[in-house]
């Protein structure tokens, strides 16, 4: 397959040639001669070169520690697609197996599909993403190979096609925490004086409505959460009473913080940053979380990130399904919000929103008409599952041609609510028993139809292939089912986090804080204020 390819251990005499290969392979990110020399001679480093007809055409290296890490694989452009990279990778894997290691890791640019295909064919599987590993917006996929006797000498039966442009990866990490090595090579193309940690440890605080939440993340990994709710105190009033919610936040705040820290096994002093909901929400509630977060920032001398609550709902899914792709359409639906927005890194573009009631609010109001307990949404959802969604036809707001011209991606649910109320009243006037299951199903269908059709249309209009759904209303079974189905038909990837991350919580604010940091957003000023109607134009509110 590769006649004439010889492998040998690299020596310092190879440095000039290896620098050429580096430049041909990694361009601006290439190591210079000094870095290459340090790599070749560093403790625990094992580098080989591949020769063809006596000429060095490629090189590769591994860091032989407890969990060996493949550092680099590079082949001159004219010699690619000949399996030279594969031969070198297999050699390094055998070398790692020889040290008794049970697994091998590597980092690869997540856009380097040929390289990823090569590593998959060798038995590597992706384990997580490292955001901004190669610089802003340039993420690495971490891949792992469990070493077994078969893997140590990969079976030649896997006749997967050779990668096209490979093997030009993996790119080595920007910095290594090698124990005894001298200054380690840098691969990050835009080194900053104070590089943010690739996986910042962030505390998130949420108090925008009736949930007091604290969550701690490392990058997009959730470490621990604390949560308290005053929902039961509001239930008898049929809605959230702001003053009751605010008073509850003051009482719950420190215990909830403590709970999150203990569950995460983290001390406050370990944190890299503090994120807090700055709006939208109830003013009296927002200020409790904001005052708390600012005091922590002062006491700990850590940066503060004010976070838009609605945008954070869309970013929470990253704690479960990993980082969002570069462009994502987000649908956030809850008792207080109905928003469509385009998320491109830290850039948020509002696409549509409700002109009147939020979808969840409409559910709660219909719940009151039906004498269902507060909040009515889950009860209507349960009833709807036993009903016929086509039993009654209710209006789909802003879907007529002339409305679509003016409000292609906006929502309106007040007309629907009135139509349902009118129907209920006519039954009551006639003393007819209300067919609650069919009514709930037909009402839910009207809401879901509009949410789903406008979301899919927005994806088409903005040429986006991933949808993320967030907010408490994404618990609605009809919405979940319908958007998954519509997404499949339209060729969209639909991401919905589990319910625990859909309702208000501190973890989503922490995730949004981590998102802001890895996308290079500056911290908020200490005079950050609360904004009850903060628009979904920014992840972090612009300084006042």
């Amino acid at each position: 397959m590769n006649p004439g390819v010889e492998l040998r251990r690299a020596g310092v005499g190879d440095v000039p040639t290896l620098v050429e290969i580096e430049q041909a392979t990694f361009q601006a990110d290439a190591w210079n001669a000094e870095m290459v020399a340090e790599e070749l001679t560093g403790q625990g480093k094992y580098y080989i070169v591949a020769q063809l007809d006596g000429r060095v055409v490629g090189f590769a290296g591994i860091f032989l520690v407890d969990d060996p890490d493949i550092m680099t694989i590079g082949v001159l452009p004219d010699y690619r697609r000949r399996g030279i990279g594969r031969v070198m990778a297999e050699h390094l894997i055998r070398e790692a197996a020889g040290t008794g290691a049970s697994q091998v890791f590597l980092e690869v640019r997540e856009t380097n599909e040929p390289a990823i295909a090569l590593y998959r064919s060798l038995g590597f599987t992706p384990v997580r993403q490292r955001p901004n590993y190669y610089g802003p917006g340039r993420h690495a996929t971490v891949m792992r190979l469990h070493l077994t006797p078969q893997a140590a000498s990969p079976a030649p039966t896997s006749r997967s096609p050779e990668p096209h442009a490979a093997p030009q990866a993996p790119e080595p990490p920007p910095a290594l925490s090698a124990p005894q090595t001298a200054p380690t090579p840098q691969r990050a193309p835009n080194p900053t004086p104070n590089p943010t940690p690739p996986t910042p440890l962030v505390l998130g605080i949420e108090t925008s409505c009736d949930e007091t939440g604290a969550g701690i993340v490392r990058g997009f990994e959730l470490l621990g959460e604390g949560l308290a709710s005053s929902v039961e105190e509001h239930a008898r009033f049929g809605g959230v009473i702001p003053e009751i919610a605010s008073r509850a936040h003051v009482e719950a705040m420190v215990p909830v913080l403590n709970q999150a820290l203990q569950r995460a096994g983290v001390a406050l002093s370990d944190l890299d940053a503090i994120a807090v909901t700055a709006g939208p929400g109830l003013m009296g509630s927002l200020t409790v979380g904001l005052a708390t977060a600012k005091a922590l920032a002062v006491a700990l001398a850590k940066p503060l990130y004010g976070i838009n609550h609605v945008v954070a709902h869309a970013l929470a899914d990253q704690l479960v399904h990993g980082p969002l792709p570069p462009r994502t359409m987000a649908l956030v639906v809850s008792g207080g919000h109905t928003s469509l927005m385009l998320i491109e890194g830290a850039t948020i573009t509002p696409i549509g929103a409700t002109l009147d009631d939020a979808a969840g609010e409409a559910f709660d109001k219909i719940g009151r008409l039906l004498d269902l307990p507060y909040p009515g949404g889950p009860h209507i959802d349960r009833l709807a599952q036993q009903g016929d969604r086509a039993a009654y036809h209710f209006p789909r707001g802003l879907t007529r041609r002339q409305d679509l011209e003016r409000h292609p991606f906006d929502f309106s649910f007040s007309g629907l609510k009135t139509a349902v109320a009118r129907q209920i009243e006519s039954w009551m006037d006639d003393a007819v028993p209300i067919p609650t299951a069919d009514l709930s199903a037909s009402f839910s269908a009207a809401v879901s139809d509009v949410l789903v059709s406008k979301t899919v249309a927005a994806c088409r209009a903005f040429d986006v292939d991933t949808v993320v759904v967030g907010g408490g209303f994404s618990a609605n079974s009809q919405l979940r089912h319908q958007i998954a189905q519509a997404g499949e038909q339209a060729g969209l990837t639909v991401r919905i986090p589990p319910l625990s991350l859909c309702t208000d919580n501190g973890a989503m604010i922490a995730a949004a804080g981590a998102h802001a940091i890895v996308h290079g957003q500056p911290p908020s000023a200490l005079d950050l204020g609360a904004d009850s109607s903060l628009p979904t134009t920014h992840l972090t509110p612009t300084t006042t």
């Binding site: 003053e243 406050l268 200020t287 005052a291 005091a295 922590l296 002062v298 204020g529």
Partner: protein, 215 residues
């Protein structure tokens, strides 16, 4: 020790230095920067603090909560105690210290409760010791407050004018006096909870009766 009071605007005191804002609506923005400023002016690090003292009201709710949430979070992060001091106690103690009324004089302390009402409490002057609380705290219209020899009212000019305060009395709660009272009471072994004093139950408009959409 750091003293915080948010019964009017945002006020911070540490090591003899006071930093305060004039905007009763800007507390959430201003309080933490004022703390950082006051510490810097006093040439102190936040880690030098040994306790936080904060006014517990009664005062308008949102500002009061901002002060207490800030105090509690600072204390939590620094691992130091937080002591709550009724804001009216601090106002009365400050008035007594400034005017030295004869022991037994009646001192009324009052803070703006909004909605044309006032928070008040009545104290008896006790010489060098802080005045003793005899009535209140309570909330009601300005006409409901008992007569007194010394009247101290904290708040806007407009609010104070309605109370006819005694000349020479403070026009707002001094955070350094909050610290002094907290230290004194801590030395006496008194509990000083940092719970906000609201005096009013939450405003709750009962759900409006259902309106028909059809007639």
């Amino acid at each position: 020790m750091l003293g915080i009071d948010t019964s009017f605007a945002a006020a911070v005191g540490v090591a003899g230095i006071v930093r305060q804002s004039e905007d009763p609506r800007g507390q959430v923005e201003q309080l933490s920067p004022l703390i950082a400023e006051a510490l810097q002016e006093a040439n102190l690090q936040v880690s030098d603090l040994s306790a936080i003292a904060a006014g517990t009201g009664p005062a308008p709710y949102t500002g009061l909560r901002i002060g207490l949430a800030t105090a509690r979070a600072l204390a939590f992060a620094l691992g130091i105690p937080v002591w709550g001091v009724p804001a009216l106690d601090a106002l009365a103690a400050d008035a007594a210290a400034r005017l030295s009324p004869p022991p037994g004089s009646r001192i009324l302390a009052a803070l703006d409760a909004k909605r044309r009402e006032t928070y008040w409490a009545l104290y008896l002057a006790a010489g060098a010791a802080p005045p003793r609380l005899t009535e209140g705290p309570a909330v009601g219209p300005p006409t409901s407050v008992p007569p007194a020899d010394v009247v101290a009212a904290g708040g806007s000019e407009e609010y104070r004018a309605a109370l006819c305060p005694t000349p020479g009395t403070p026009d707002r709660v001094n955070p350094l006096v909050v610290v002094e009272l907290a230290v004194l009471r801590a030395a006496q072994g008194l509990a000083q909870p940092s719970d906000p004093v609201y005096l009013r139950r939450p405003d709750i408009a009962p759900p409006a009766p259902r309106k028909r959409v059809t007639r």
